[in-house]
Structures are given as C-alpha cells and as structure tokens.
C-alpha cells in the first residue's frame, strides 16, 4: 500500500499544488478589497437629461443662508471622472423630474451633509475605514469647537470630478497625485500646509513631485487617519515608527545619503529607550520624552544643516534642548551623540571607554575563571583519589 502511494505521489503532487493554488487564488480574488464593492443601480432619466441644464457654466443656486452653490457640472470633467457611468440619481436619489423637489439646506455645508451617507452604497469598505479616525473622533466630540467642520467623503473626493487615483505597481501614489493629496488636506489645514510647503518634505512633494518624500497621508494615513489631537499620547509614542518607515529604508535613504541608523541610535539613548518602553507597555500614557518631531520639527521639518532651523547648528540644538532642559548650557547638547555611533573621530571618549571595557571585562573574568577552574580541577582530582567517606574517616582519626 505504502510504496504504491509513494510511487503515485510524484504525479499527485503537481495536481494538488495546482488545486491549492486555484483555491488560494479564488479566495484572494473574492476577498480582495477593491475600491468599489457594489454596482450602482440604474436610473431614469439618464445623466444627459440632467446635464442639459447642469452643464450651463456659472449656474449658481442661492441658498437661504446667503451662500451660493455652484450647480454646474462640466460634462468633460464628469465624463473623465470615475463616476462617468454612474447615474446622477444614485446619489441625488430624490431628484427624478424637473422642477426638483424643494431642498431644506440653508448653507452649502448643510447641503453637503445631506449626501454624507451616499458613498457607502458603493464604497462600504472605505466608509468602515474612516470610522473612528481622527476626523470622526472630532465629529463625535461635542466639546470640540471643530466638531461641525469635519470632512465628509465629498470634501476630499469631489464626486463629480474625482478621476482614478494613479498609483505605481507597489500601490504608491504617483508624484502628482501625491502632491494633490497634500493640497486636499490644505483646504482645511492651511496653516499646517503652509508650514509643510516650506519644509524639506513639502518641497520634495509639492515642487519636485518626488514620490519618495512623504505627503500628509504617509504619516497620518488616508482613511484611517490619526493625529496627535485626536489620537493623543498614542500618536506621540508611536510616531518614531512612522519616521522610521522611510528613514530606516536603505533603498530610499541611500539616494539622499541619509543614515539609516537614526532609529537604533535613538532607541539606544535615554530618551528613545523610555519612549520605546512606554510604547510597548502602554501606548496611551503621556510622556515628556522627545520623539523625532520634538527636535526636528513637525510639519516645518528642515534639513539638519539648515542655518535657521537645522539642529546640526549648535545654537539651534541648544535652543531645542532648552525647550525641556531650561538649565542646559552650551556643553549640554554634546551629551547627545546626534545619531552617530561612537568612533575614533566622533565622540572618541565614548569609543575608548567602550574599548577599555572590552579589554577589562574579559581580562578580569578570564582571570577569575582560570582560578575558579583550577580550584574545581583540584577538588575533582582529590575526590577521585580518596572517596568522601575515607576523607572524613582520615580526618576523624587525626
């Protein structure tokens, strides 16, 4: 029985492999989250009927609150959008004929909010992702003055013009999309955007459209986005990992001659050790220990050799230290090795102290082990020569 099965096995193996591969493929295919999870329903009348009026340029609906809402839909833009084949009625469900039913919206904001749940029909996964994100938490916090200002899907993705988001094979946004994403956030976070635009990252994204450089979403996430004001201490404690994602990646850092030792040298130091342990033990606890952005800047992060803000400049570093160590004097910043691993040229004192112990420890312990070893050797030899009982007898007879 056994040999026969073994004989057959070589033929069976490819078949089994193929079946398993097919099964896995099917499961992956069926469960892969695409951007669209449900097909939109058909409508009457069709979109061309709506566009007859709505293509008129400069058409503005005056809302009772005083604001005007542009109701122009450019057929070219709409035709080029991902929703070109989606019926207007899919979202504008109450509009089936002209004249349209009265709308109660007083402001453009109120009007936008009427369509808050429309996207979930076709994009339930994305709607799930935004649940409990930073915006959602603000929205659900009645004490937050900005609770009413959080974006709906349409505030970031204009449904009438949103075209397919261009990504590379790795799922990374193409350079121009990357820059566009930052401008999307700028609509409501303009102060931050302006600080970012002048930073080393902002310049890379907005001017050079360099996909290696982070835009807002690379650090804060896209739909599941988080930030320090909504996610509190956790964002702070986990933030070094955000920076490390790129700054420990040799394939990116190598291009710019940047060190990938920045995380391990940080963790090896007092501050980094504390932050790492805090994060592992309880990521929600507050800490006054600095993380990357406390020294390097947040959105306005500059190159380390920037004359105004760069912390390679000693005065700048001292000012940075003094934020938490008010008594620090000019020697103090050197107690931090600036992410360098001690060597003969950089922090030689540390290097030689390490070197001293590399010799002292084996020397001292080696001497001890030799002496202890010799003692064990003698005891074993004596015990072999005269058994314990005889030893005692001999001593007793003395």
């Amino acid at each position: 029985m056994r040999p026969i099965l073994q004989k057959r096995l070589p033929f069976l193996t490819p078949v089994i492999v193929l079946l398993v591969a097919l099964l896995v493929g099917a499961v992956v295919f069926l469960t892969a989250p695409g951007n669209v999870q449900a097909a939109p329903p058909a409508q009457t009348p069709d979109n061309s009927q709506c566009l007859l009026c709505h293509q008129k340029e400069g058409a503005i609906w005056q809302l009772p609150g005083g604001e005007g809402l542009s109701i122009t839909i450019s057929p070219e833009m709409f035709g080029g959008s991902v929703h070109a084949k989606v019926a207007c009625q899919t979202c504008h469900t109450n509009i089936v004929e002209y004249p349209h039913p009265a709308n109660s919206a007083q402001t453009t904001r109120e009007y936008t909010l009427q369509y808050e749940n429309s996207c979930a029909q076709c994009h339930p996964n994305q709607v799930k992702e935004i649940a409990d994100n930073a915006h959602d938490r603000v929205k659900n916090d009645p004490t937050n003055p900005n609770a009413g200002n959080t974006p709906t899907c349409a505030d970031c993705h204009n449904p009438h013009t949103q075209s397919t988001i261009l990504k590379d094979e790795g799922g990374k946004l193409a350079g121009l999309e990357h820059a566009a994403s930052a401008r999307t956030c700028a609509q409501c976070h303009n102060d931050i955007y302006e600080a970012y635009a002048n930073s080393v990252h902002g310049e890379g994204v907005l001017v050079n459209n360099n996909p290696d450089v982070p835009s807002c979403i690379d650090c804060h996430g896209v739909h599941n986005l988080s930030g320090p004001s909504a996610s509190g201490n956790q964002f702070r404690l986990t933030s070094p990992q955000i920076c490390a994602k790129c700054h420990t990646d040799e394939s990116i850092m190598g291009k710019y001659g940047l060190s990938t030792d920045v995380l391990n040298t940080y963790i090896a130091d007092f501050h980094g050790t504390t932050v790492t342990l805090f994060e592992k033990l309880d990521p929600d606890q507050p800490t006054n220990m600095p993380v990357c952005f406390d020294c390097h800047g947040v959105h306005d992060i500059k190159r380390v050799d920037d004359p105004q803000k760069g912390i390679q400049v000693k005065d700048n570093l001292l000012a940075t230290c003094q934020k938490c160590h008010p008594g620090a004097t000019p020697n103090f910043p050197d107690s931090w090795l600036s992410h360098y691993i001690p060597s003969k040229d950089r922090a030689p004192l540390v290097f030689y102290v390490e070197w001293f112990y590399k010799i002292l420890i084996p020397l001292v312990l080696g001497a001890m082990i030799i002496l202890v070893g010799s003692d064990i050797f003698r005891r074993l030899k004596t015990r072999k020569a005269k058994p314990v009982a005889a030893d005692v007898e001999e001593k007793a007879s003395k």
């Binding site: 007859l52 293509q55 340029e57 400069g58 503005i60 542009s70 057929p75 070219e76 035709g79 900005n146 200002n149 700028a186 609509q187 409501c188 303009n190 102060d191 600080a195 320090p228 004001s229 702070r236 130091d269 050790t273 504390t274 342990l277 805090f278 592992k280 033990l281 800490t287 006054n288 952005f293 947040v298 959105h299 306005d300 934020k323 938490c324 160590h325 008010p326 004097t329 020697n331 103090f332 050197d334 107690s335 931090w336 090795l337 001690p342 922090a347 004192l349 540390v350 102290v353 420890i361 001292v364 312990l365 002496l371 202890v372 010799s374 003692d375 050797f377 003698r378 005891r379 003395k398």
Partner: protein, 385 residues
C-alpha cells in the same frame, strides 16, 4: 586543635548587617540596572513591566544607589574607628603576599606545588572582591552622579562625558554582576557553603583551607589585642565627633546630590507652537456666467460663424462625447447617427432634426428664434464656412 567542627568567629553582627544591606542594595541595583542597559531584550522588558514601568525602575535604582552610598559612608566611619581608635591591623590592605598566594593557590590547584598557601585573615580572593567593590563604588558613584545630573556635569565637563559615563556605568555593572556570579558565588556558595556572613563563624576545616596563617596566629594566642579602655576612650573622644561630622557632611552632600538639579521639565512642550490645526483656505470664488451677448441672427450664417456654438450649448451634453449621434463637428452632423442623417442641406423642413425639434418633447430644445436660424442655415445649404 584537631576538632574540625570547632568554629572561629569571623564577623560581628554589625558586619553581617552591613553585608545584608549590601546584598539588598547591590541586588536591587543589578535587577533594576541591567534591564536598563539591555532595555530592548525581551527579558528586560518583562522585568521592567513587572516592576511597574521604566520610570519606577529608575526610581528604585536611585533609592538603592542612595542606600549603597549611605552604607559606604557608614563603612568608612567604622573602618576609621578600627584603624584610628582601636589601631587594629589593616588586614584588608593588599600586598605582595597576596599576589604570591594567588600564584601558589593556582600552582597548588594544578598540582605544580604540593603545599597550599597559608592565607591571612582576609585572603587574596576576599581582598579582590573588597577592592573591586570600592573601585565599583567610586566609579559607579561618579558616573551615576553624571547621569543623574547631566546639566551640572556639562557645566564643567564637555557634553561627551555623559554618554561616556553611561557606557562606563553600564559595562562596569555588567562586570560587577558577572564577577559576583563567578567569583563570589563560587567561592562562598558553590565550592562549599560559607556561613560566615550569616552565622558569623567558620569551621576549623574552612579556616585551615582559606585562612591558614590567621588560624595559626589564633592558635598561637596572637589574638588581636585591643588597647586599654582609657586609651580607647581618649582617642574616641577625638575621633567620634570629627568622623561623625565628616559622615554627616557626606550624607548631607549625598542628599544634596540627589536633588541637585531639575534636569527636565515635567510637562510636555507643544510639538508645534502657533499652528492652528483647523484653518480653512479662502474658498475659490464661484465662477460667474459669461455675459450672454444678444444673438445677432443675421450674423449666424455658417457652421463656423455660430451654428457650431448653438449645437454645442444646446445639444453637446448628450450628442458629443457620450456616444450615439454626435453634433460636435461639421463632419459629424452631416454623417448623422444610427437612424440616418440629422440634416438634409437645402431642405430645412424635411431635415429629421428640424422635424424632431418642431414636434417638441425632446430633452434639449432650441428656442423658436434659434430654430429659425438653424432652418435658414439648412435652407442655405448648411454651409460650413
């Protein structure tokens, strides 16, 4: 003389308490210190979590360090009393004899020397530990102070002394712990259990092996002679107040050092000052409709001169990019759609487009004036230019 069970006193109760304090502080320092040096190791994380987090670990470490130094101050006071007031022999001082003893001990062990060395009250093994402890105390105290008070330190020394102190503090600790495990544990616990620090005495057998010279002295009646009590009292009257003051000053200095500086503020400084999270951009003004010029019917006579624009605004939404009949270009309009030509040049009334428009009900309709222009244009042969 020949009773191996006979015991010899080695340590007083006070000395044994000192040893106990040392065990307590040293073990605590090691247990809270080694996980700090190797903080990323799994076992360290476990220990740190078990002790209540890294901040608690650091506090415990500093309390143990304080206890250790207080013990050192007390020890200095007692040693001073023994040497100055009682004028006892400085039996812990190392000498050439100890080097010889160590060598002989080794040679005897490996069988190159028949006789084991006859060792004094404190043999070379104990002196090694004692002086290693003193070295460790000074080094750990100094580097510990630097790490505890980095701002004060860098007021005097270059900043690089702080990371250097950290490296020295950490590796010195590793050396001390391993030395205790290898040297101390072997010599007093493994090779045989030494009760001297608990019960205070050693057996004759152990004395012979480890303190042969001392045993000989005791047996010969050369016990340590104390000076007459009035001499002791006289000396103590001078020593005790001075030493007490020095000890108190040292203790006060220690306390001062513990609270020397406030290294860092307790609050979390804002990462980003003066940046509002929510700050909307000024919205782009809504586009206004281009002013509509009055239609000059007489001027619109060809496709290029205005007919094209009429079709574009009225029909372009559907009859262009969306497929089916296209009215976007002159060629398209002549070509027509799936049900044939849209216009018949020269025959305005018969053109399907005009028929459809006049019947009404189409989604897009021309105004009567516009339809009139179209009809005139078709009747003229629908010229392009």
């Amino acid at each position: 003389m020949s009773n191996p069970q006979k015991t010899y006193n080695r340590f007083s109760i006070a000395q044994r308490i000192e040893h106990f304090v040392l065990i307590l502080s040293f073990t605590t320092l090691a247990l809270t210190g080694i996980p700090q040096k190797f903080a990323q190791a799994g076992i360290s994380e476990f220990i740190i979590a078990a002790l209540g987090g890294i901040n608690t670990v650091r506090i415990i470490h500093r309390i143990a360090a304080t206890l250790f130094i207080l013990e050192a101050i007390y020890h200095a006071f007692i040693v001073g009393y023994k040497l100055i007031v009682l004028r006892l022999e400085a039996s812990m001082l190392p000498g050439i004899k100890d080097v010889k003893d160590a060598l002989d001990f080794f040679l005897h062990n490996v069988g190159l020397k028949k006789e084991a060395p006859q060792m004094p009250r404190y043999n070379f093994m104990e002196k090694m530990e004692y002086w290693a402890m003193i070295w460790g105390l000074v080094l750990m105290g100094l580097t510990g102070f630097m790490l505890w008070n980095p701002i004060a330190t860098t007021n005097i020394l270059p900043g690089v002394f702080i990371p250097a102190a950290k490296v020295a503090h950490g590796w010195e600790a590793v050396l001390a712990v391993l030395a205790i495990l290898i040297w101390h544990f072997y010599n007093v616990h493994i090779k045989h259990w030494n009760w001297a620090m608990f019960k205070g005495h050693l057996t004759q057998e152990q004395m012979e092996e480890e303190h042969g010279a001392e045993l000989e002295k005791i047996e010969a009646g050369e016990i340590r002679q104390l000076p007459p009590s009035e001499v002791v009292q006289k000396r103590a009257r001078i020593y005790v107040p001075i030493a007490a003051v020095i000890s108190l000053v040292l203790a006060a200095l220690l306390i001062r050092f513990l609270t020397f500086e406030e290294t860092a503020i307790e609050t979390i400084p804002p990462a980003e000052a003066n940046v509002a999270v929510f700050s909307q951009q000024t919205p782009t003004p809504l586009p206004t409709a281009a002013p509509t010029e009055p239609v000059n019917a007489a001027a619109i006579t060809t496709w290029d001169a205005g007919i094209a624009d009429l079709f574009k605004t009225k029909c372009g939404a559907c009859h262009g990019a969306l497929g089916g009949l296209s009215l976007a270009s002159y060629a398209d309009i002549l070509k027509g759609g799936s049900s044939g030509a849209a216009i018949l040049p020269g025959d305005a009334a018969g053109s399907p487009l005009v028929v459809l428009q006049e019947a009404g009900g189409h989604a897009g309709t021309f105004s009567p004036e516009e339809l009139e222009i179209i009809k005139t244009w078709i009747a003229a042969g629908a010229p392009e230019k």
